[in-house]
């Protein structure tokens, strides 16, 4: 899931300076789970903006704001209210997808997009994958060293862990101590003797695309 947080109200109000008529768009997937862009948050923003003197011209809740198909439908609905601006509470991808569908109407972010993560329990999210494009989980007991190690070390730990905690942030367990414990439990400690290739950034310049149809040809 894409984990996001609410943007501070003052920052949003600053972006909306000079605007009177605003539409609000949420997202029924990740942003809902993060309590950033679900129905409740859309209603909260609506009440808040109205209390500040804005006219909220409409609200939308696309299934997934990052899907062109849903974004187009939502945009069409919102445009009917003739807003001067749209506040999107989706993730960065959802906001841009929505913006691509709003003709000549600016779309502003109501969120800060953080990471790809797990929902450990309601309201508690952990970063799990930094999307390196070349997954090494098969070598590391399905614990990601690129994400869980503060230095993204793929060939074993630095010398800095103390009592199993990361030297960079002692609230985190050291990725490599976790990997060691997991591989030991799996009887796969021999995997630690492999020296993996350094991460290769060739062909990894962003923005990246995947086109399955093209690949099939």
């Amino acid at each position: 899931m894409i984990v996001s947080r609410r943007k501070p109200v003052e920052e949003v109000l600053a972006m909306l300076q000079g605007v009177k008529r605003v539409a609000i768009s949420g997202c029924h997937e990740c942003a809902l789970a993060c309590k950033v862009g679900g129905d409740d948050e859309v209603a909260e923003w609506k009440a808040l903006l109205e209390s500040k003197g804005f006219t909220v011209t409409g609200t939308a809740m696309p299934n997934e704001s990052c899907l062109n198909f849903y974004a187009r439908k939502a945009a069409k609905e919102l445009q009917k209210g003739n807003p001067e601006a749209v506040l999107s509470l989706a993730c960065g991808s959802g906001i841009q997808t929505m913006a691509g569908q709003m003709k000549n109407i600016p779309v502003y972010p109501g969120s800060n997009t953080m990471f790809i993560g797990q929902v450990e329990r309601v309201g508690h999210f952990n970063e799990m994958c930094r999307m390196c494009g070349d997954c090494v989980l098969g070598h590391t007991g399905a614990i990601c060293p690129v994400t869980k190690c503060a230095k993204s070390l793929v060939n074993g730990p630095c010398g800095g862990a103390k009592n199993g905690k990361c030297e960079v942030n002692p609230e985190n367990d050291c990725a490599w101590v976790m990997i060691y414990n997991r591989l030991e439990a799996l009887g796969q400690l021999d995997k630690l003797s492999e020296t993996l290739d350094d991460k290769d950034y060739d062909g990894k310049s962003w923005p990246r695309s995947v086109d399955l149809a093209k690949e099939a040809n």
Partner: protein
Amino acid sequence: MSVLEQALESGTFGVTAEMAPPKGCDFTEEMKLAETLKGLVHGVNVTDMQSASLKASSLGFCIALKQHGLEPIIQMTGRDRSRMAIMGDMLSAAAFGIDTMLALTGDHTSVGDCKASKPVFDLDSVGILRMLTRMEATGLDCGGNELASTPHFYKGAAVTPVYEPIFLQINKLKKKVDAGARYVQTQGIFTVEALETFMDQVAKANIKVHVMAGIIPLKAAGMARYMNENVPGIAVPDDQIAKLAAAAAEGKEKGVKGLPMKAGIEMAADLCKQIKERKLCDGIHLMTIGAEQNIPTILEKAGIAI
């Protein structure tokens, strides 16, 4: 050939010191300190913004040492440089006659004093060593392109000997050695027993590398306690802390300054002496943290000359 290489590879007990460039652009004081090390050590490590705190660069300071007739050991971390920048710096280092290096992953920017800086970590210690070894073997740069001239370095790495689980450090040490490290300097070690335990592990894992024991002369009980709490891999035993505290109390009573520092020098010298006499490892690496003026005394008391 690297002076350290000549020493270690011929079975001579290796001695290195460590210096940090200043937070500024005037090296005068540091060069004066460095002068006192002439003829006493096989090389002087120059730290690469240790603890991620901003200093003049390792490369520049190494060049200055070289110009003052010392043998610098350039420390190279992956924290602030991509592989291109590392290789470029190493080529420049070689152009100035620097032939000994130590590869480190580097402390994270978020524990340092320029926290907003981007942590690079394109390569870790293993990656840096592997890249340089490949370059030396093939004459090709990190993109596979031919170099007009190719340097050769005597390459080293660091290791944390007091670590849980030690398997992880030994395993990584093996990778560093496979990647081209010929010597390792340990994190500060304070007892013969800790060193022996570590050397046993290295032997058991059948790792062939020259080990230099890291020695940190303690300056005060507070410093020792602080390091125990905050510096990973440091374990100063209680009796040494007690000795420092007793020295401080004695100094206070007699109105004499510097007794704890003296006690620290004695303890460090004693450890160095035992390491050399009992041939516990291949050399020592003195990390005096700004008190390089004490190195001649420590070496003299330990009976170590190069």
